[in-house]
């Protein structure tokens, strides 16, 4: 049966759409406010927050912010920690899940339950002793330390995602390779791993956003500005510039810009990744 689209229901749809756009203003206005106030002379930011005059358009605030927050440097730190942690978590997580599925012994089942039951444990449980471990291992104030914490506080969830997927892959696919004398490692890399792409995509998306936006790990383990990432630098600068809004607002825009670009281009994969990740989780 097809829905009859009478005039009144079409009118209702238009009204609904209009209403949704009005409601969307609650989402959009803060961003509008943020952006217009970065494009005008500093004095106007305080005096006339909602007004915007094209004639006085200026990008000066951005050059200053770019310099003040050492944007290139903090961006690179963000990129290194996020990319490093995502690559590591995909490799380590998928291979561990592979073994846990294919070797179904008591020990492996125990390890699997250990992983999944730890998913609910908050990271806050580990931080005090972890601080000591970091000092001992000379990981304090290093990007490697941040990467390791990212990876191993999220590994359980990633193993869980891969585990559920690998279980659906029939072993027969790998048998032929095994008979031909391929090693376990070769079989995993050349036959199993390529089939895992749907999960790998989900993991990359969810973890990239989480790692990129992280602040908690940074505030715990990074002290030196040399290793600051974007959020950590913004936090420090809010302390320095305190109420100088015209200096801070462009920093927020620069802080959000990379993820905004990522969002605009990857929107569909982000949304399907989030859905897949949470429906399984």
């Amino acid at each position: 049966m097809r829905r009859t689209s009478s005039k009144s229901s079409r009118g209702g749809t238009i009204l609904l759409e209009l209403g949704l756009w009005v409601a969307a203003l609650i989402v959009l206005i803060p961003f509008y406010y943020l952006i217009i106030n970065t494009l005008k002379p500093p004095a106007d930011v305080v005096a006339r927050p909602m007004s915007f005059d094209l004639k006085s358009l200026s990008f000066g605030a951005y050059t200053k912010a770019f310099h003040d927050m050492k944007y290139g440097h903090v961006f690179l730190n963000n990129l290194i920690t996020t990319a490093g942690a995502v690559i590591l978590i995909v490799l380590i997580g998928s291979s561990a899940a592979y073994t846990l599925v294919r070797r179904n012994t008591k020990f492996h089942r125990l390890v699997y339950y250990l992983f999944i039951s730890s998913i609910i444990v908050p990271f806050q449980m580990a931080i005090v002793p972890l601080f000591k471990i970091f000092v001992k291992m000379h990981l304090m104030n290093t990007l490697l330390g941040v990467i390791l914490v990212f990876v191993f506080t999220n590994i359980a969830f990633v193993v869980f995602l891969y585990y559920s997927f690998i279980r659906t892959i029939p072993y027969q696919l790998e048998e032929a390779a095994k008979i031909d004398g391929a090693s376990v490692f070769r079989t995993f890399v050349s036959i199993c791993f390529p089939l895992l792409w749907p999960v790998t995509g989900t993991v990359i998306i969810i973890q990239s956003v989480a790692f990129w936006n992280d602040f908690f790990v940074q505030i715990l383990f990074i002290v030196s500005p040399k290793y600051f990432t974007i959020t950590r630098m913004i936090y420090a600068n809010v302390g320095i510039f305190s109420t100088d809004w015209s200096a801070l607002l462009p920093m927020f825009v620069l802080g959000m810009l990379p993820i905004l670009i990522f969002y605009v281009f990857m929107q569909k994969s982000i949304i399907s990744g989030i859905t897949a990740g949470s429906v399984k989780g």
């Binding site: 749809t13 989402v27 909602m50 561990a96 070797r103 449980m125 972890l130 390791l148 490692f185 949304i271």
Partner: protein, 298 residues
């Protein structure tokens, strides 16, 4: 010869598992268990040795007004933000599931805030809600001539937590909406046709079918949002820094404060154990309740 081959295969398998297992033990499992252990001692960074004190830290937790306030704040935050987020996200998802011309653009707009760092979003809103007359919201209130409305959004102890919850809901509703949308698309259309034949109105159809069949998404949303709510830190840090007084401090603020500023390791460990227990209890109750609802779909 054959046996050696088998050992080789076993070894190769274990080698694939080892990096994840070792890292997980060193950086998560071991420190978490250590926290439980320390919570029964008087361990502190200043002392060379420590002794067992039984449940003293736990008794102190429940005597400490500051900590009790932070636990109450956290529960209040987690419950209210979860409730509001879902109350808003369900109608939003239903509306955006309709045949609208701009539905994809609208979805994109509503979901966008979720992608950004909670810290930056918190700072942005702290400027908008600023108690000074230059704050955007107060500026608008003045211009609209509705000056009787409250204006110390983040500085008034009775308003501050509500403002914090508003910002959290503002940022996460789009995320919950996405989960509901995915669930909506799995509800068979025939069900709607059959109730239509029975003469049910739109509202009844929503109540008897949509709302009921959204149970799986609701379980996920409520559970993840509550757990996330219990861990809240960045946003509050940026918005109010826990203030005024400690009106908006969450449990994580207390852990950070005792663990790192005052070096009371054992006490902070006990707090983190309390946090775990609260999360476990609430998740179990929710899972029980919501899985029953899921069973009802048949």
């Amino acid at each position: 010869m054959f046996k050696r081959e088998k050992i080789k295969v076993t070894l190769q398998y274990e080698l694939l598992l080892l990096p994840a297992l070792i890292g997980f033990v060193i950086f998560f499992l071991y420190p978490s268990i250590q926290s439980i252990f320390y919570s029964f001692t008087n361990y502190s960074v200043n002392k060379l040795d420590y002794s067992f004190v039984g449940l003293r830290n736990y008794v102190n937790v429940f005597k400490d007004e500051h900590v009790i306030a932070s636990i109450k704040n956290t529960v209040y935050f987690a419950v209210c933000s979860t409730l509001l987020q879902n109350v808003l996200a369900i109608p939003l998802a239903v509306a955006l599931n309709a045949k609208l011309k701009t539905k994809f653009l609208l979805r994109m707009v509503y979901f966008m805030p979720w992608c950004f760092s909670g810290l930056i979003i918190g700072f942005l809103w702290s400027f908008i809600l600023s108690s000074s007359d230059d704050g955007l919201l107060n500026h608008l209130i003045h211009q609209l001539g509705i000056g009787f409305l409250p204006n110390n959004w983040l500085g008034d102890p009775s308003l501050a937590m509500k403002s914090v919850i508003f910002v959290a809901v503002w940022q996460t509703t789009g995320w919950a909406m996405i989960i509901y949308l995915a669930n909506l698309q799995s509800i068979p259309a025939e069900l709607y046709e059959s109730v239509k034949i029975d003469g049910a109105g739109k509202f009844q159809a929503f109540w008897h079918i949509t709302f009921k069949f959204l149970a799986p998404a609701m379980t996920i949303n409520v559970l993840l949002s509550t757990i996330g709510g219990f861990k809240v830190y960045d946003q509050i840090l940026a918005l109010t820094n826990g203030g005024p007084g400690y009106a908006t401090e969450s449990i994580t603020f207390s852990i950070m404060n005792y663990g790192f500023s005052e070096n009371k390791y054992a006490y902070a460990s006990a707090l983190s154990v309390v946090m775990l227990v609260v999360i476990l209890l609430i998740s179990l109750v929710q899972l029980r309740f919501f899985s029953k609802r899921e069973d009802n779909i048949a």
